[in-house]
């Protein structure tokens, strides 16, 4: 038995090294197949996850408001404590969220900064806001978050004025604005926000506590906006969870975005899966065809081996072992390359390198070995070859 096995491996070694060009070609085909398989599998898993994160650029997708919101414009009915308690007991404490308090106040430019401009004053919606979470720009407009960070170190109070509000009040960044509501008043340095195209354009944003003092609504807020990440299904689950927990308030998805998102996500993930599946199936077939082409060439070798007394089974085992070995080498090298490629692709598309999934590697290698062996399948037909006809040079 021992010398038999030694001989077996020796023949395989010879088979592989006999023709370097051929070896290179097979390894290239198998390796390319494995690389594509690994890269696409890895990218597909990663891309779907990234896409759901990408959808959060649309901003908040859930609103928590008082149950009867008909006349809630000036009547906040939520306790501020709800905002901090919201994520208690849930594993997702870092969900971007923001609380708002709305009210109507009279805005005017402070006399000191007016300097020859027409006197302008009028009622505006003042929105007090507070946000938390690791990506606050997903719950409130990004321009607002930027402004907050920019002015965080200023000593004087500032307020962010929407573009339409600024135009109506003839305001420019840096002007001092006085906001009055009954006996309460406050003044702040204006910063004009870029146009956002929503109702934000006609509002003035101040810190939540400033607004609470201004409207005499300490401890109250008008609504909470959440930006829940995940697939449409996960978002829906989270909403139902919140609805169960918060029975006395209205938790509702922003249907414009949740529904549109579900639809688009479904399409994109469908197209991605379809393309990947298509590429994988046909890559497999291509590699198989290339392998088969190479295997057919082994006619003469099979004939010779049979002529000197090799049993058909043993001869076949030899070739299958060779194919498997080639598949293993091609797969190990190709799949590693593929995972590296997918990390780079992830970086190119989403700006973050795709996280390599360990499961992808063995799957890609196993797939390559199977393809290589399947590609050698036509050798079975060679088992019927009569050695004599090979030696006579018959085709």
């Amino acid at each position: 038995m021992m010398p038999d096995r030694k001989m077996f491996w020796r023949i395989i070694r010879r088979l592989l090294s006999a023709n370097r060009g051929r070896l290179f070609v097979i390894l290239l085909a198998l390796g390319a197949g494995a690389a594509i398989t690994a890269a696409l599998l890895n990218l597909q898993v990663d891309a779907k996850r990234r896409l759901t994160a990408e959808f959060r650029t649309f901003g908040a997708n859930v609103i928590i408001a008082p149950r009867d919101f008909s006349e809630s414009a000036a009547k906040p009915r939520l306790y501020e404590s709800l905002f901090s308690d919201l994520s208690e007991g849930m594993d997702t404490g870092m969900i971007p969220k923001a609380a708002f308090l709305y009210g109507v106040a009279n805005a005017s430019i402070d006399a000191g900064t007016q300097k020859g401009k027409p006197p302008a004053a009028g009622n505006v919606i003042v929105a007090g806001f507070l946000y938390s979470g690791n990506r606050p720009d997903q719950a409130v407009p990004a321009a607002l978050v930027e402004a907050e960070q920019k002015f965080a170190t200023r000593v004087r109070r500032h307020c962010d004025v929407g573009q339409q509000a600024a135009a109506a009040l003839h305001l420019r960044s840096g002007d001092s604005v006085r906001l009055t509501n009954g006996a309460h008043q406050t003044s702040c340095d204006a910063y004009v926000l870029p146009a956002l195209g929503g109702s934000e354009d006609s509002q003035v944003f101040v810190e939540l506590h400033t607004a609470q003092t201004l409207f005499d609504q300490q401890g109250y807020i008008s609504l909470i906006q959440l930006s829940i990440p995940g697939t449409p299904g996960q978002i829906q689950n989270y909403i139902s969870l919140l609805q169960q927990r918060l029975r006395d308030v209205d938790v509702r998805p922003v249907r414009q975005f949740t529904e549109g998102e579900a639809r688009i996500y479904q399409r994109i993930s469908g197209i991605l899966s379809a393309t990947v599946a298509l590429v994988l199936v046909l890559t497999t077939l291509c590699v198989m065809a290339a392998m088969t082409n190479v295997a057919m060439e082994r006619r003469n070798d099979v004939g010779l081996m049979k002529a000197i007394g090799g049993a058909t089974r043993r001869v076949l085992r030899l070739f299958v072992a060779e194919a498997a070995l080639l598949g293993l080498t091609g797969g190990v090298l190709g799949a590693a390359t593929g995972i590296l490629i997918s990390m780079w692709l992830g970086k190119a598309v989403f700006g973050v390198a795709a996280r390599p999934r360990l499961i992808v590697y063995p799957v890609a290698v196993a797939l390559t070995i199977i393809v290589a062996i399947a590609g050698a399948y036509p050798l079975r037909r060679l088992a019927n070859i009569r050695p004599a006809s090979v030696f006579r040079g018959e085709r």
């Binding site: 023709n19 060009g21 051929r22 070609v25 097979i26 390319a32 197949g33 594509i36 890269a39 990218l43 891309a47 990234r50 896409l51 990408e54 650029t57 649309f58 901003g59 009867d68 919101f69 008909s70 414009a73 709305y102 109507v104 009028g122 009622n123 919606i125 407009p141 509000a165 109506a168 146009a195 195209g197 929503g198 109702s199 006609s202 509002q203 008008s222 922003v254 414009q256 549109g260 688009i264 399409r267 994109i268 469908g270 197209i271 991605l272 379809a274 393309t275 298509l278 590429v279 046909l282 890559t283 077939l285 291509c286 065809a289 290339a290 082409n293 190479v294 057919m296 060439e297 190119a348």
Partner: protein
């Protein structure tokens, strides 16, 4: 003789040629399918993104400051400016008119509502106060060029779901928001009396609307009724426009005022959201057109990413196809050492041998490529049908790329073994060494 040699090579080993051809066809099929789908997917996805609704908002330029929270304007009817409804047909005359998939004007007025059952002989009992949103449900707009265009709020706000039917444009009908319906007791079929100031109107409820926003607590009726109640004939306060756009790139974000004339032309003739906004401003005098950033930017970011992703996957597919095809054509040349040796021994030059083999490979590439293209188109149609419900359009570009790719890849794949083959010494090969 040359043709005979090529023909002979095909008929002598049909199975081998078939295998190489099959590998080629399959590879090219992947390439065709992936290429057609990703060429097509941008447009299709852009259309899908319109399910997010309007991305442009038109308001009067000389407007007073809106007191708007969550999409509801709390100003009285007589405050602020309005725009003429008759101008709206002009929207379909702008350069990118075909990119405008829908638009709908809106006008809100505060109203009181009561139903028959709550009414007593002496005085109508007011059951609910609310907002009446006047808009278009299925309105036929006359376009200045003589045609007409049907649009409405369902196109700009596709997430609004109506249980029942939308109101008819020329009838005294309305749909009510589901919260309002619960509050006022109005159901499908009830007649709702609406009053504003000293004007009254009776509307038949045809459906219950749920949209997830402030519209759930409002009455939605034909804009004509809102205009009559508010005394603002043929006017509207805001207009929602949903347009297909190209995501803004570096060039699209530049200020059009700083562009040179030729650049401006290019900017104007690209469906960036900002250039469509400008074109709308040009046909609607006195209007201010604002881009709804939240929708437009999210859409732009995602579309760009998905497009890049699909192009990369396509590129991977092309690469895989090229490698597999190259490998199999290389293998088919390597096999023919003996034959090459024999030809050279009979006096053929390296050039002739190379030309012969190249011709064979090209013929194979043509046949395999054509078969692969046909297969790929079928696959692409299947995928397109399955996902978007529509097959990708035929593109000459794809055909050209596939044929070119098939030829280049087979030639490159055979080039290296051919070069080596041309250096073979005939004698050792013929001796079987």
């Amino acid at each position: 003789m040359f043709i005979r040699l090529v023909a002979d090579s095909f008929s002598r080993r049909p199975r081998q040629k078939l295998l190489t051809g099959a590998a080629l066809a399959l590879g090219m099929a992947v390439a065709t399918a992936a290429l057609s789908v990703s060429l097509d997917v941008g447009d299709r996805l852009a259309r899908e993104f319109r399910s997010l609704g309007a991305n442009l908002l038109v308001t009067p330029q000389a407007d007073s400051l809106p007191l708007e929270i969550g999409g509801v304007d709390y100003r009285p009817v007589n405050a602020g400016a309005y725009l003429p409804e008759t101008d709206l047909g002009k929207l379909k005359t702008i350069f990118w008119r075909n990119n405008i998939v829908g638009f709908a004007p809106a006008m809100e007025i505060p109203v009181q509502a009561w139903t028959e059952s709550s009414q007593t002989l002496s005085a109508p009992a007011i059951t609910a106060r609310g907002t009446l949103i006047g808009t278009w449900a299925n309105h036929s707009v006359a376009v200045p060029d003589g045609s007409s265009y049907v649009t409405g709020i369902a196109k700009t706000n596709p997430w609004w779901q109506v249980d029942g039917k939308w109101f008819r444009e020329d009838q005294a009908e309305c749909v009510v928001g589901k919260a309002f319906a619960a509050r006022s007791g109005a159901r499908i079929g009830t007649t709702l009396h609406i009053g504003s100031g000293n004007q009254n109107v009776a509307l038949l409820v045809t459906g219950v609307l749920s949209g997830g926003g402030s519209e759930d607590d409002a009455i939605v009726a034909p804009i004509e009724i809102a205009q009559r109640l508010g005394g603002k004939q043929a006017q509207y306060r805001r207009l929602y426009v949903s347009a297909l756009t190209k995501p803004e790139d570096e060039f699209g974000r530049r200020d059009p005022a700083t562009l040179a004339p030729s650049e401006y032309e290019r900017w104007y003739c690209t469906p960036y959201i900002s250039s469509i906004a400008l074109q709308i401003r040009q046909v609607l005098p006195g209007a201010e057109v604002r881009v709804i950033r939240r929708v437009a930017e999210g859409e732009g970011a995602i579309l760009t990413r998905v497009r890049t992703l699909l192009w990369l996957v396509t590129f991977a597919a092309l690469l895989a196809a090229a490698l597999a095809v190259g490998a199999s054509s290389a293998a088919s040349v390597i096999q023919r050492r003996t034959e090459i040796g024999l030809m050279k021994a009979l006096g053929a030059g390296s050039g002739t041998v190379g030309l012969l083999l190249a011709a064979e490979q090209l013929l194979l590439a043509l046949v395999g490529g054509a078969a692969g293209y046909a297969l790929g188109i079928i696959l692409a149609q299947f995928v397109g049908q399955k996902i978007f419900g529509a097959a990708p359009a035929f593109s000459f570009f794809v055909l050209a790329v596939i044929v070119g790719l098939a030829a280049v890849v087979t030639l490159l794949g055979s080039a290296i073994p051919l070069r080596r083959a041309s250096r073979y010494e005939p004698a050792p090969i013929l001796r079987g060494e």
